[in-house]
């Protein structure tokens, strides 16, 4: 099949970018979207043009390294699918495909389709963990966790941190990403001791770096792991409760 590509090219964070257009005519249905870009790059190199920079690593939809806007949709048209798992059979012969980097104030472009998502790491560093120094853990089966709770925590923990939720959000909010981690840890018995401080620190850090959520719901639709927007409500509830709890702690101390 043939495709007509319109791809964002940008030398680095300091320069302006622009679209460039390319035609590819040896595309097979079996190829993944990124393999199609590989073929384009090989073609560019042999024609003496610099290949398009884009990120990917596992190419199995789990590392969260890939991610581009395809015809305006984060990770493209297939629901619950990361860019690397999208296959060309989802496009028709002669398709026009526009490819852009994640568009968000919080994700500066490194080059072409590659962006800097390190603000997401800052949110985890603010409290997205359970403090358990190596060697201090009790025997694993001493902490039974009801299967339903464990499953719900897992659904949230499935987040791959790709940033599609931010890219899809008209406000550039990272609420789904943050909520997913908070829910994973706050649902589990092991996460209780730090529950209230965690949610406050993570939410505040999130607000420092990202836009605010006004419930568009685009994030859930774009998420390659189909993480539910319900977790955002969970996070908001915990955040409100935390204000109260933390005040109580302060009061007790005072």
């Amino acid at each position: 099949m043939r495709v007509h590509l319109k791809i964002w090219r940008q030398k680095n964070a300091r320069t302006e970018g622009a679209f460039a257009e390319y035609d590819l005519d040896n595309v097979s249905h079996e190829m993944s979207f990124l393999e199609m870009l590989d073929v384009l790059n090989e073609q560019l190199i042999s024609g003496g043009q610099e290949p398009v920079a884009f990120d990917s690593d596992c190419r199995e939809g789990i590392c969260g390294m890939c991610g581009v806007m395809i015809n305006g949709e984060a990770h493209g048209p297939q629901r619950g699918t990361a860019t690397c798992q999208l296959h060309m059979r989802k496009f028709s012969d002669g398709a026009h495909i526009t490819v852009e980097p994640w568009r968000s104030r919080s994700f500066p472009v490194n080059k072409d389709l590659s962006v800097d998502r390190s603000a997401l790491d800052r949110i985890i560093e603010a409290g997205g963990y359970i403090t358990a120094p190596t060697g201090s853990a009790p025997e694993a089966n001493l902490i039974p966790v009801p299967k339903e709770v464990s499953d719900a925590a897992f659904d949230a923990a499935a987040c791959i941190g790709c940033g599609a939720c931010v890219a899809a959000c008209p406000n550039g909010a990272a609420n789904l990403f943050t909520a997913a981690k908070i829910a994973h840890l706050n649902l589990l018995p092991q996460g209780q001791p730090e529950r209230w401080s965690r949610v406050v620190r993570m939410v505040e850090t999130m607000e420092d770096h990202f836009g605010s959520c006004t419930n568009y719901g685009e994030c859930q639709a774009a998420c390659p792991k189909e993480i539910s927007i319900d977790y955002i409500a969970y996070m908001n509830r915990d955040f409100v409760k935390a204000q109260l709890k933390n005040r109580r702690l302060i009061a007790q101390r005072g």
């Binding site: 030398k11 680095n12 097979s28 079996e30 190829m31 993944s32 990124l34 393999e35 073929v39 790059n41 090989e42 190199i45 042999s46 043009q49 610099e50 920079a53 990917s56 690593d57 596992c58 190419r59 199995e60 939809g61 789990i62 590392c63 969260g64 390294m65 699918t81 798992q85 296959h87 059979r89 080059k111 800097d116 998502r117 390190s118 997401l120 790491d121 985890i124 560093e125 603010a126 997205g128 963990y129 359970i130 358990a132 120094p133 190596t134 060697g135 009790p138 694993a140 089966n141 966790v145 009801p146 299967k147 464990s150 925590a153 897992f154 923990a157 941190g161 994973h184 092991q190 996460g191």
Partner: protein, 659 residues
């Protein structure tokens, strides 16, 4: 256990005895196997808490091994720097592990124990690993599960709230802990989160999108690294009291593999060229259940978890010319070859055995699919027996993944699978303390050669990475550092540092200045074909000789006709790729030389000249019960082979049988 070493040099294609050398000391503690590690832990020196902040440690790699080590050492109070090539430490290749992690908890009450996990691992590795290391690994396995649960890793649970287990190839007990089909992801996120906490506390400085270009060895010790900032292109040095390489495996030497695209041999190859011995490079693992390649543009292969073999039945048509769709081939005309040949283990034989059997079927013309390059993995019996719901609960996400890639629905059409490069048992040689032959240079996780012999059992790599990172390195590094208290880190402007840095710059310039016609990708593909054809699932002397003449020719062509566009002082993915391919080419030669040297079959190393009557690997314990450790001798010269002889006191080597 005594470790005697014999020093040999290669002459022509044979090996000449050259007397003995003591360059390899595995430092296995004396005493009964059950107490070696405890005794050693007691005997090792400690660094007092207030002295720890005086030490700088560099850790390259933030996979399970690197992240676990960095989090633990940071927590302990050392100054740690971590580097990884992805944009976040959370994305290391460990994230892709699906099936699970082993631990001798014996929660199923089915006869498991540390001794049994030890025994299974030694046997599974076809008697080419060290008893001392493997026993320690089995011991630490139980602590890993405790640690991970405390961190909030959402392992699968029973309705009663306790942890669930499943079984895996090569074992007759259920000792595998899992988190749906995303065990590696959840374990890595646990380690990454512990690391993130240390980053926030300032004990660890994280350098994502930084690639190691060289290791700095000064006065016989590893004192630092040269790295390239992959966004700005800046090449800079970092120095420390010790360097840890936790950079993963080299499975991408085959080009097509289940590894992430960026997995590379560069870090360990650079260290090798600076004096670290490379051990058993020919021990590579081919995983039996991957999705076969569909066309020449394929960029990587996708693994379908081995757990599928619990319920799927593997078969090919009896008649090679049978072109009917699988559901129209009646039962008597199907060959369930694993069940036929290995009745005791059936579809759950170890990976190497399953892979070679599939290759024999495909080579014999009985492959299935449009390219006749696969075998069926069929769930229709299991679905009839257990119901679709159960199958969906167990494998739903894998089935979806399969359908996304192939466009076929495994609930109705059997999956097609074929073996692919997956894991590398070989790696830098390390002693019991995980230190390489270069003092101060430690190696952890898949990057070292230590625990899996000639074949790794499923769910044991995650176990090893975490054991190394959480429970071994924090002790053995302290022991090394304790002897260096008061010693200053070599300054980054020291001439010895500047020299290595300048060499790294020159190499980068060289790659950019060839201005030929072929892309790095082209060379990688060409290399992969040679290595897969001659040093893949089946190897013989003639093919290996051929590879040994083709690889240097490819290398020559690479340096004559490579094309890397763009500049060095900016983000340049072609340049990164070119550097990795250059190292893979050199490494591949050693891998083939190692395979040629090893005139036996064992585990994943199958020399077709050495097989039993029923096509199983035939070991030669009298002559090859050793670790082959290669010493770099300079560009254009053949490496020297050192042998670490393996003693088996507790597990007596026998012909592995899974019948």
């Amino acid at each position: 256990m005594t470790t005697e070493t014999v020093h040999q040099t290669i002459s022509g294609n044979g090996i000449g005895q050259n007397g003995s050398s003591s360059r390899l000391n595995a430092r296995i503690p004396a005493g009964p196997i059950e107490s070696k590690w405890d005794t050693h832990k007691f005997n090792m020196k400690l660094v007092a808490p207030h002295n720890r902040r005086r030490f700088e440690i560099i850790i390259i790699g933030t996979g399970l091994a690197g992240a676990a080590a960095a989090a633990t050492l940071g927590e302990a109070g050392y100054n740690v720097k971590t580097f990884c090539y992805q944009d976040s430490p959370r994305r290391a290749h460990s994230i892709a592990a699906q099936g699970g992690i082993n631990a001798a908890k014996n929660y199923r009450n089915d006869g498991d124990s540390v001794m049994r996990l030890f025994y299974d691992t030694i046997k599974g590795g076809d008697y080419r690993s060290r008893e001392g290391n493997v026993y320690r690994l089995a011991q630490e396995s139980v602590n890993i599960i405790d640690q991970c649960v405390a961190q909030g890793v959402p392992f699968a649970r029973e309705y009663g709230g306790l942890l669930d287990n499943r079984s895996f190839g090569g074992a007759q007990v259920s000792r595998t802990f899992y988190a749906r089909g995303q065990t590696g992801q959840q374990l890595l996120l646990g380690a990454y989160q512990a690391l993130a906490r240390q980053i926030a506390l300032g004990t660890v400085q994280s350098y994502p999108r930084h690639e190691l270009l060289d290791v700095i060895v000064h006065e016989g010790r590893a004192v630092g690294v040269v790295v390239r900032n992959m966004i700005t292109g800046e090449i800079a040095s970092h120095t420390a009291h010790a360097v840890v390489l936790a950079t993963g495996g080299y499975g991408n030497v085959f080009y097509l593999s289940t590894n992430a695209k960026g997995c590379n041999v560069t870090a360990i190859w650079r260290a090798h060229k600076r004096g670290a011995f490379m051990a058993n490079p020919c021990f590579t693992q081919i995983h039996p259940t991957c999705i076969p390649a569909s066309d020449e543009f394929q960029s990587k292969l996708t693994l379908m978890s081995e757990s599928l073999r619990n319920d799927g039945r593997i078969w090919v048509p009896l008649d090679p010319t049978d072109s009917r769709s699988p559901d129209r081939i009646p039962e008597p005309e199907r060959d369930y070859y694993l069940e036929r040949i290995y009745p005791a283990f059936g579809n759950l034989v170890p990976r190497d055995v399953a892979s070679r059997a599939a290759k024999r079927m495909v080579d014999g013309g009985r492959g299935v699919g449009p390219l006749k390059n696969g075998v069926y993995l069929d769930f229709s019996d299991a679905t009839a027996r257990l119901g679709r719901n159960v199958i969906e609960e167990r494998y739903g996400n894998l089935f979806e993944m399969y359908e996304r890639i192939t466009g076929e629905n495994p609930y109705y059409t059997p999956m097609r699978i074929y073996p692919a490069s997956h894991y590398t048992m070989g790696g830098l040689w390390v002693d019991y303390n995980l230190m390489s032959t270069v003092p101060g240079l430690f190696v952890a996780g898949e990057a070292n050669f230590s625990d899996h012999g000639a074949n790794r059992l499923g769910a044991s790599a995650l176990m090893q990475g975490l054991a190394d990172g959480y429970f071994v390195l924090p002790y053995t590094l302290a022991d090394f550092l304790a002897g260096n208290l008061g010693q200053k880190v070599v300054p980054v402007d020291h001439p010895a540092v500047k020299k290595v840095e300048a060499e790294a710059r020159d190499r980068t310039k060289q790659l950019l200045s060839i201005n030929g016609t072929k892309s790095p990708e082209w060379y990688h593909r060409a290399l992969g074909k040679i290595v897969w054809d001659y040093c893949g699932m089946g190897r013989d002397a003639q093919g290996l000789q051929k590879a040994l003449s083709e690889i240097p020719a490819l290398r020559e062509d690479f340096y004559r006709d490579l094309r890397v566009l763009g500049d060095g002082d900016e983000m340049n993915q072609s340049l990164e790729k070119a550097g990795r391919v250059a190292d893979f080419i050199e490494f591949a030669e050693l891998m083939c030389r190692d395979a040629l040297q090893r005139e036996e079959s064992c585990g994943g190393h199958f020399r077709t000249e050495h097989q039993t009557e029923d096509n199983e690997a035939k070991r030669d314990d009298d002559n090859y019960a050793f670790v082959a450790a290669w010493e770099w001798q300079g560009q254009g010269k053949t490496q020297t082979l050192h042998k670490e002889v393996l003693d088996f006191e507790y597990v007596h080597p026998t012909q592995r049988s899974y019948k």
